[in-house]
């Protein structure tokens, strides 16, 4: 039954996309309805998966991952059977769910519904193509998190580029063409180099007598049994790092992000910030950490921690300097992803679980921020803080949600951001206190720019741009339906994070053990060299 849910979850958006294209631009209402139904169906199956997910109990020793067998699907895709004597080397269509991916699957399916709802009235130009692209993007994103085969993972990872390129380029803001091309080329260049690293890992992790494997579970197992030579690990890590760091994005590779986020249509921004940035951090968690542990410790930790701290401070300061609200939120993403990476490369259980939780948190809170900013833009056709002020008087409901979201994003205790950020910083503090302290400065900066935003736009005397005869009304039911579920989860994670942390615990613990073991071996080179 579980396998069916997983397949249906991946196929429902595709069916919706096909339906949208079939219905065509003439039947806008039906197109929108079909898209909504498709995303709701995917959400239903995702919810079934999330609630029924159980950590596999029978797990082979030394194997950090093993997806819940209820949801595991495995079909041969490309059979590289070179010789008849050995078992065939095969790329599998291998899908599954484990503790690292289960919440991200839930997040993706959850964010898609508001993405469709927010496009409801704003997208009138070629709506069929728009919704078809949006829905195929959903399949690609869910696919990345469900993929348990390295090639399949990469295929979905790359495929996300195509719908987004068109979404930004066709339905974006004034500089959409430049933004779309820059986004595409940046991420493509990075990920092709990552592919070389991935190919290197696959071809290096051989097991005598066994065929090559592309399965992430099996690769992680082999990496634990016979780790790759440390020097080679460093090169492979650097290759993987480039593509994933562009996607996250880490500090010097972030320049595509503000542009793409600002120019994208609201739904595009929500998904870019909410899900696509997580593909980078998830890639580190899924590929770099288990397969190249020595390199993560040797060069990954100093490099990433430094870049993450620079990203936190630089992103926050940039956010502080913005007048465009959407740009402010975009730069805040650079800073928040810095926290994720800081926690991830603490390389201990607290840091990694904090990072994974922070991925979900950031998806919720930044997704919400982009949704709300999009709603303001729909009403006033401006996002400039200079032109807006005191909106709390005009739009009390929207302002209420904005305040809650900003507080969640800042990390107020009792809301979701707090749990994740604190865990990330705790993790890093145990390894490199200095980085954690600088990261904490970023929290203060974060509070500063978000509170400035609230104060200037929502409080004080009412200041609105001329909006003709249009009556500006507060949020309607459709907009409430888009926002409320996300806010509920923000509060839930903040108040009771235990189930969220519990599901990921076995995988995180196994990873942390492997990293600790590798660290021990690295510190005692004489013994490991003797083996």
């Amino acid at each position: 039954m579980g396998k069916m849910w997983l397949l249906l979850m991946l196929l429902a958006p595709l069916a919706g996309a096909a339906a949208a294209l079939y219905l065509g631009d003439g039947r806008l209402r039906l197109v929108r309805l079909a898209s909504l139904v498709a995303t709701l169906a995917a959400l239903l199956f995702a919810a079934l998966i999330v609630t029924n997910y159980q950590t596999p109990t029978a797990r082979t020793a030394g194997e950090p991952f093993g997806s819940d067998p209820d949801f595991a699907i495995r079909m041969p895709w490309l059979i590289y059977s070179q010789s008849e004597q050995t078992a065939p080397t095969t790329v599998y269509l291998e899908l599954g769910v484990d503790g690292l991916s289960v919440w991200l699957i839930g997040l993706t399916a959850l964010l898609m519904v508001p993405a469709v709802l927010i496009s409801w009235e704003t997208i009138t130009d070629r709506p069929a193509a728009y919704y078809a692209l949006l829905l195929s993007l959903e399949t690609a994103m869910l696919g990345v998190f469900c993929a348990m085969d390295a090639v399949l993972f990469y295929v979905f990872f790359e495929f996300t580029l195509l719908p987004l390129f068109f979404l930004i380029g066709l339905w974006g803001g004034p500089r959409k063409r430049y933004a779309a091309k820059k986004f595409f080329i940046y991420t493509l260049a990075g990920s092709i180099i990552s592919l070389v690293g991935l190919v290197g890992v696959i071809l290096t992790l051989r097991d005598a007598g066994q065929p090559l494997t592309f399965s992430l579970t099996e690769l992680a197992f082999r990496a634990g049994k016979t780790p790759i030579d440390a020097a080679l690990q460093n090169w492979l890590f650097l290759a993987l790092f480039i593509g994933l760091a562009v996607k996250v994005p880490l500090f010097p590779f972030h320049t595509w992000l503000p542009l793409a986020h600002v120019e994208a249509p609201t739904a595009g921004s929500v998904l870019l910030a909410g899900v696509l940035l997580k593909l980078g951090t998830y890639g580190f968690l899924r590929l770099a950490l288990p397969l190249l542990p020595a390199a993560c410790l040797q060069i990954g930790q100093p490099l990433v921690a430094l870049l993450a701290v620079i990203g936190i401070l630089y992103g926050s300061l940039c956010a502080l300097a913005q007048d465009d609200i959407k740009k402010l939120v975009a730069y805040s993403s650079v800073a928040h992803l810095g926290f994720c990476m800081l926690g991830l490369f603490a390389l201990n259980a607290e840091g990694m679980s904090g990072a994974l939780l922070q991925m979900v948190n950031h998806g919720l809170s930044t997704g919400l921020l982009f949704l709300l900013v999009g709603m303001i833009y729909d009403r006033y056709h401006t996002r400039s803080m200079k032109e807006l002020g005191g909106l709390a008087q005009r739009l009390p409901l929207l302002s209420f949600f904005m305040v809650v979201t900003c507080l969640a994003s800042v990390g107020l205790p009792g809301l979701n951001g707090f749990v994740g950020e604190v865990l990330c910083l705790f993790g890093m503090y145990a390894v490199h206190p200095a980085y954690a302290v600088w990261g904490a400065v970023g929290i203060v900066l974060g509070a500063w720019y978000l509170m400035t935003l609230l104060q200037r736009v929502f409080f004080g005397p009412l200041r609105e741009p001329a909006h003709g005869d249009e009556v500006v009304t507060d949020m309607n039911r459709r907009e409430l339906a888009a926002v409320v579920p996300l806010v509920v989860f923000c509060v839930w994670i903040g108040v009771y994070p235990k189930p969220f942390l519990g599901a990921m615990k076995p995988e995180i613990t196994a990873l942390a053990e492997r990293l600790a073991e590798t660290a021990r071996q690295l510190q005692a080179p004489s013994t490991s060299a003797g083996e």
Partner: protein
């Protein structure tokens, strides 16, 4: 007398489809002066190609002996099937687009080129190989000069393209002959199998240095057809000036001929079995390394500045020649699951589908009233011709190597073969390829961006012919299909690259 006759009939039996094509071409040439409705010539060509397809040996047939002038094995069948397929596509795309008065000659030239391609793959003798390559070249000169509908005014440009191609082609043929003479000189036979056997036993008279000279000159001569840098100079000029339909054929036919001939000489071990001693095998791999890097660099970087669509695609072809050369040089270790030759054979049909499709689409969009010459001429295609724009996007994404198109697996296999090569230098090559492919992605993306993200000042109004559109659909759907189900094609590629008496490049030590 009887012996000669049976030898001829045996040889013709091996290359029956090519014999049919050549006979049909002769018929077309002879009948051309007579006033016959054009559609009959086209139907005759179609019948010839259909018969040729029917006469191709089935893939499962065992390899014949390698004693005669021709051979028939999985490798040659692989190439011959692709070339007949290209011939069929070409006929359908050109349906009614050649000038009525001279189309018999033009169709005959197309048939001869296809026959030449097949013979290149089926040749088992240096002289036959040379003649087959010329059988591809000479009709190409004719096609390059003859006008097509709508470009009659371009006579000076056509003449320039034809002359340029002629001069350089003759030069490359001379290089090939020069190298072949070394090979003949060191063994004393022109039969490829005899040469291979003699070299493997070390029975050559002159030592390996001569073989190295032979390798370099032969590869140089064939690189011209492959448009591998630094032998690429003609390609952008010829593609720009030549008649569009001819370029469509040339873009894949020349490359197929080059790969098939290199397969005969290099991959089947003719040259390399003589060069298997350690310093030489490294030098041979080094030669391909340099060729690959130069081609990828020239193709991907210089393409960025091109504005003419066909010029741009010429550079794309140069870059892809570089990727294919990696497959030539990267013979995998004995236990490798993905060897260079298999990856190359996998690449060839995918490349043919995507490049032919793209050139055909541009050709079909071109009309005398509204030329499609520069990238900007495609502006607004996404709105005016959504279907064609979609198909072109499939070809372009496949050329970039993005899923969900077969171009992704083609590139992935080359990456894996390069990484798994015995030559550690090829790991660097994988990285170089990744970086340069990302650079080149920019110009493909530019075309997509122009098609979809810009509006035309003067939208295209041409209606695409049904048969041409059919070819585009076949190409695009095949690319998507081979992404979803690549295993069968991979198995074919492995069989094809393995055939011919072993060992192939990397497997000998």
């Amino acid at each position: 007398m009887e012996g000669v006759l049976s030898a001829i009939s045996g040889a013709v039996g091996l290359v029956g489809s090519e014999a049919v094509l050549i006979l049909a071409a002769c018929g077309l040439f002879l009948g051309a002066p007579f006033k016959v409705p054009g559609v009959r010539w086209r139907l005759a060509a179609l019948a010839a190609l259909g018969l040729a397809w029917y006469l191709l040996p089935a893939g499962t047939e065992a390899a014949t002996s390698y004693a005669g002038a021709f051979k028939s094995d999985a490798g040659s069948t692989f190439f011959r099937s692709i070339s007949v397929m290209v011939g069929l596509f070409m006929l359908l795309v050109s349906w009614g687009r050649f000038d009525e008065r001279i189309q018999a000659e033009q169709l005959a030239s197309v048939l001869l080129i296809i026959a030449g391609l097949g013979l290149t793959a089926a040749a088992n003798d240096l002289i036959v190989l040379f003649l087959a390559l010329e059988l591809v070249s000479i009709p190409t000169y004719v096609l390059l000069y003859l006008p097509e509908k709508g470009n009659k005014a371009d006579a000076p440009r056509r003449a320039e393209a034809a002359m340029k191609y002629f001069m350089l082609s003759v030069f490359s043929a001379a290089m090939f002959l020069y190298g072949a003479s070394f090979l003949y000189g060191s063994v004393g036979s022109t039969n490829l199998e005899v040469i291979r056997a003699a070299l493997r036993e070390g029975a050559d008279r002159s030592g390996t240095a001569v073989l190295l000279v032979a390798l370099i000159t032969l590869v140089a001569g064939l690189s011209f057809r492959l448009t591998a840098a630094p032998f690429h100079f003609y390609a952008p000029d010829v593609y720009e000036g030549a008649p569009p339909l001819t370029v469509t054929l040339l873009s894949v036919a020349a490359k197929l001929a080059g790969v098939a001939a290199l397969d005969q000489l290099v991959l089947n071990g003719v040259l390399l079995s003589g060069l298997s001693a350690p310093p030489y095998v490294t030098k041979a791999a080094g030669l391909f390394w340099v060729l690959a890097v130069a081609s990828m660099l020239v193709g991907n970087v210089l393409g960025l500045w091109q504005n003419n669509l066909r010029r741009l695609l010429a550079y794309s072809g140069i870059a892809h020649a570089g990727y294919m050369v990696i497959g030539l040089g990267a013979g995998g270790a004995a236990d490798a699951a993905i060897t260079g030759p298999s990856a190359l054979f996998f690449y060839v049909p995918i490349y043919t589908l995507m490049t032919f499709g793209l050139f055909a689409a541009i050709t079909l969009l071109d009309s005398p009233e509204r030329r499609v010459e520069t990238v900007d001429d495609l502006a607004g295609l996404g709105k005016s011709h959504p279907v064609v724009a979609f198909l072109m996007a499939v070809f372009l994404f496949s050329l970039i190597g993005l899923p969900p198109t077969a171009g992704f697996f083609a590139k992935l296999n080359i990456f894996m073969a390069a990484w798994d090569s015995e030559q550690s230098l090829y790991r660097v090559l994988a990285l170089v390829m990744a970086v340069l492919a990302a650079v080149g992605a920019w110009y493909y993306l530019r075309i997509i961006a122009v098609m979809y993200l810009r509006d035309a000042v003067k939208p295209l109004t041409v209606r695409l012919p049904l048969l041409g559109l059919l070819v585009l659909w076949i190409c695009a759907l095949s690319l998507l299909w081979f992404f979803l189900r690549p295993s069968a094609l991979w198995r074919e590629s492995v069989d094809a690259s393995r055939q011919g008496p072993p060992p192939a490049v990397g497997r000998q030590r």
